[in-house]
Symmetry: D2
Subunit: 422 residues, 4 copies
């Protein structure tokens, strides 16, 4: 399926070898507080157990690099090709995805042994120059995606436990106690025809291509995300009860699921608390609102007399303003934002856009199993842009298209308002 080109670009080679080690080690280090049981449980069909994330990201390298190069006998355990293959759903028993949490065997220890087995083979193949760099790069980006999913899935799991255990202590942050959230302000953009999508330099997922022109009207974009304090205003103004702010599907979803606040929020002695990776804690008023669905984001924007930006507007703005992508470890909870101009576009919360996740003009699906990468998800989902408090270092970029169904709330998802200029 892939032409096994022996790459000449030894500098890229060395960089990727180093990155392979770093990404693989980071995944394991993220799990260090987990017990075997923590790593096994699955809290809902959308989420996967930690063991599955650990194994599936290894399976990717085994399936697409090691087995083609070294043969089937190089696999750690032939059964794993079945157990940890996410693509499997389409071709066989379809209920397995809901039952990942029942795989108490193999144990977490065996999964770590599997990872080591894969790492050993990969290091050898990389040294021998036998690794297709494009697949290696894709595999690492794939593993970084699962790193963030790991965080959101484990948060969801721990939130189901009445003991509300803390997964971790939050990394120390620079003291921002004196900081206050700046008032909402707007950056204006003229009508334009920006080039949207990936330009060809560096790695990007298939769905970010091809580069193409898009029309953006005159619009303005908020300097920061909507905060928890503002969201509480929305709640107290009856925002969840009034259908006029809501999309029809959104209001039905909200009503059926009895949503009255973001996911994880609970009112306790008249104050809002929420579940975080550090345990159960009071809602921080200055921090960006998080764990909201597209439907809620859209309703809030409507209530606020604004709208969500399209993904072209968002990307155009991000490229214009030169916002920077964090290269260090993420803070694991949204932090209060301080800038007066466009700020925090790649941090804190993924920002729901008004755009459905659809193919760009001229988009082509590659042949083969890896070709299924993103194209098959291009219906029914909405695009989120930026990055979050759980995104892997240097993983994202201005062209990055994250996407989820409009009712999903367990991701680190929030919003930034936009407005027409008329």
């Amino acid at each position: 399926m892939f032409t096994n080109t022996h790459p000449q670009n030894t500098s890229k080679d060395a960089t990727l070898a180093k990155k392979f080690t770093a990404v693989r080690e980071r995944t394991v280090s993220m799990c260090k507080t987990l017990s075997d049981a923590d790593a096994t449980a699955q809290s809902m069909p959308d989420a996967s157990p930690a063991k599955w994330h650990l194994a599936h990201t290894s399976w990717f390298f085994e399936e697409f690099i090691i087995a083609p190069e070294l043969g089937e006998s190089a696999r750690f355990n032939p059964a794993y090709a079945y157990l940890f293959n996410s693509y499997y759903d389409a071709v066989g028993p379809r209920h397995l995805r809901n039952k990942r949490g029942l795989l108490t065997r193999p144990s977490l220890e065996e999964i770590y042994a599997y990872r080591n087995h894969v790492n050993t083979h990969m290091h050898a193949l990389i040294q021998q120059g036998k690794v297709p760099l494009d697949i290696l790069e894709l595999g690492l980006a794939h593993e970084e995606q699962h790193q963030e999913l790991f965080y959101t899935d484990i948060l969801h799991l721990f939130a189901q436990n009445p003991l509300k255990p803390a997964f971790t202590e939050f990394p120390a942050q620079p003291d921002s106690s004196a900081a206050t959230t700046p008032p909402l302000s707007w950056t204006q953009f003229e009508p334009a025809t920006p080039q949207i999508g990936h330009s060809g330099d560096g790695f990007a997922f298939d769905c970010e291509t091809p580069l193409h022109p898009a029309l953006t009207p005159a619009f303005k974009l908020a300097n920061r995300n909507v905060t928890n304090a503002e969201w509480i205003d929305f709640i107290e103004a009856g925002g969840y009860a009034n259908s006029k702010y809501w999309l029809s599907d959104g209001f039905a979803t909200k009503t059926q699921n009895e949503w009255h606040a973001p996911l994880y929020w609970e009112k306790k002695d008249n104050a809002w608390w929420t579940m975080t990776l550090g345990g159960f804690a009071p809602v921080e008023l200055d921090a960006p609102v998080c764990h909201i669905s597209f439907y809620e984001a859209d309703a809030y924007a409507c209530w606020a007399g604004a709208r969500l930006p399209t993904e072209a507007e968002w990307e155009h703005a991000a490229k214009q303003t030169g916002a920077t992508i964090p290269s260090s470890s993420p803070p694991l909870k949204p932090l209060a934002q301080t800038g007066d101009t466009l700020t925090g576009m790649f941090e804190n919360v993924w920002e729901w856009t008004a755009s459905a996740f659809l193919p760009y003009p001229g988009f082509q699906i590659n042949d083969g199993a890896i070709g299924e990468y993103n194209g098959k998800f291009m219906s029914g989902q909405m695009v989120l842009r930026g990055g979050s408090c759980g995104t892997s270092p240097a993983h994202t970029r201005s062209t990055y298209r994250n996407f989820f169904h409009p009712d999903k709330r367990w991701q680190f998802s929030g919003l930034r308002l936009a407005k027409d200029i008329t």
Copy 2:
């Protein structure tokens, strides 16, 4: 909610008065073969009983024109404001929509009396120049929409009956026995920046506005719809079984619902039959395939090495080629197409596009209840363009945006292929 302007434009006035009579009479004449029971039953939550269509379209005029002008006492029956108000769902008991088929009272006869009551008031108000023309126009377009829904809903109901009764005899058509379906051919379009949307002349729904530029790449569009014969090729090639042609949500939907062919198709003695408004009949090989979901349309296009057009491409092509909108009564079943160039764009079947139903740049929702018209449905649905064998005369236009969820099949929905030019 509406300024009750007394219109000056007496020519438009007269035209709309005439149209009011015509549309209202057409609705009733469409129902003439129905029994009280036929008009009461509801075959699924998506469909409405004929009585409900008859009453709800009358309620619109009563609610937005008669009651504001003549007071509540002018209503036929106060309870009807509750029973036949589709907007009601958001503010009250939410299960009613599924239970419309249990309203055996009022009877069909009473509903006709309701219609007459509304007509009498409306005629008087029109004569007195007391009718806001924009609402009148909207009410008539609304009723025309329900005319087509009536056909698709009654077809669905009769298809559930093992006796498979015929709803009607098909209108006579010009003899086309000698015609054969032309081979697939393509019309090419250069990259362009057409103005998309409603230009301001004549009536349009809110979602067709505002007029705005859009970029269309170089592309080509098929001369005709995909036919039943071609669809059978797809079935026989295993198209329904192979996940690689399908969107992920589509394959899951197909599998769960056990779709193996378009809605209503059944294999009988090795030949395909289908349910039509004229009863159970053999599938006509040369006619456009109908009653397929977006998911199936997309999978077919993928299998055929093509894609669906975007709605901007479709509208651009329709405006370029000057395709004409039928002004006579629809044939009630898709007819074989004969042209070598772009043909049948407003007839036979609504054509699924690759576009999600989203607001145009600068779209504004009007205040008030009528403001809810289309905006609240702008998530999770896909746009269909053109018109069908069940569309009311002169109802559609090149900017018309029809929309349904991607899994819906009971509409007269088919497809026309497009391709990139690279």
Copy 3:
């Protein structure tokens, strides 16, 4: 399947011929206020449309008497054997039962024609002495069962209509305005070994056989049914909220379905109203409570420090006290009871017992389709004894075993308390 014996007993012959006419006419006369739509709709899977009751009871005679005697060509319409065969579920498409309400054709008029066709054939066969009397008798008892189901099903249908239409006017009753409900009193019974079940004289359903001894301990039985006034006490005492009175399955069912009162009850301006065959009306405090499930009956008895009687106790008491079975038309709503001793055992409401519907010792299922009559329902259901305000004249007897699942409430079901004597 049945030996077509030509009966000698001409007196029984004549009686059954007369009864055939009476029962068949009564069914039609019960429907005289129904429109075609009323007769078509199905309000829930447990209920059947009136048209279905009318047709299915005719199908019984066609299937088991006319067709065997006169051949298939004597059928009114071969398709009816499929449409109106309740046994069909086991051997074919299983969803049909839920979709009976979609059979808008055949019309009510056609169903009446079907009934006449069957009647004509039956009268001729009866005159010629060609009708197996046991099947005829079973067919008439079967039709009488459906007469009561017709009432409960049409009540359920009309209760779904927000207009809450009246099905009928109640038959005039002797003036009982001066009557007051007597206080609860008890009739005592010594330990005994009564013969339970059908003794061989007259008609009985298979499940009432064989006659067998049963042990009944010392117990006492209430003089009358629990009244609506008493039920309101139970509600106001928190009876629906306190799990300690409830069976585990019952409490779960109650909670899931949000039961807070009997079926059809609604609180309006601080008073309880209910839906009746005569329309929406205030709850009559002295009348027996009706439309309660077994779970509710059991919880009430527990709250009241009593229990439900077993069916053997009930039958023993009924035989001892010589309670009489009504032979005139039923009142169609439960009436206040006036006796100081055991009263109303065959009227007003079916009485839930503590007995599961199980085979009597030595019970045998007959061969053939009619053999399926009751045996296949002998799991998961509870026995009710007596008769109700909707039971056909002279239809019931002291050995009669009615049965429904413990969560069903749409029948005319109530309760009578029993207690151990210790």
Copy 4:
């Protein structure tokens, strides 16, 4: 709720103290092959995680003995009263039962510490004579029940794992390779009025009381259970496909769940295999059939021209024949039976009876939380008698009433045929 009587009967005291140690140790020893993850997962709502069994059985002693005697401060962790209280369902959040598998914390190790904490307190209280013996005895019987549930739940969990891991090695059995299953033979019983239920000596659950006379007709009972070989005959004769053998609810359940064989059976290379506590293994033809529902047992009996015994018949026979209750560790899989006369009544498989689980005449529910023990489950369930290959040593007796809903299959459940003598 319990009078804290200081017991005089020091011999019973000593016996129970010894038994306390034995039962508590046995539970832990049963779990020795489990990982933390194995002990946490929950494979379906009916099943509980091993950790939950370990904790809940300890909670019983803490809740009903330690806390009343030593105060709330003697609890290991106050939150456990909430987490491990099965009675909790009725008074609070109702979904918790389905989410037991998400309690990855506390860990298995912490649960063992909890057990030790409870054991220490209990030993001290027993020594001080401060333990109500009736509650202690109930607590031990309760833990023995959970020991068997532990086996059936862990088997169900491991069966969901595509790797089909073995939970244990089977205990060695006396060589029975020469044994062959004896032909079916029958023991006859005359009509009788045996005393049924618990006589007052030794421990029994509330539902086994009071002792009361019951009538048993003449009947005969099979010498042994139905075997796997016989069940395969039933399958091959189309037993699962023919509705005439099935109860109506049973056929619907079977069809909806696509049952074609007992739970865990899979056909592999034309032979039947099944999941066992020792892993995936060929079905042993001579062994009793196991993991069947009541519906299947009843259908088999009907197909075989027999019926299931009532529980009174079963108990009468067991008492007559003096069948013995195993006092040693169970074999963990059903073993082939060899006797010519009534044999294996307390081993191998629980035997479905024809009796619904209902209160015996004069049954009283005790006050208080322990009073809820069995009474609240007395609807919708069927009685099983005897004991199984997973039952704790000496746990059962001839009056023991096990009960499950008629569709449950994950218990060690089988059948023994009975017949009327006419």
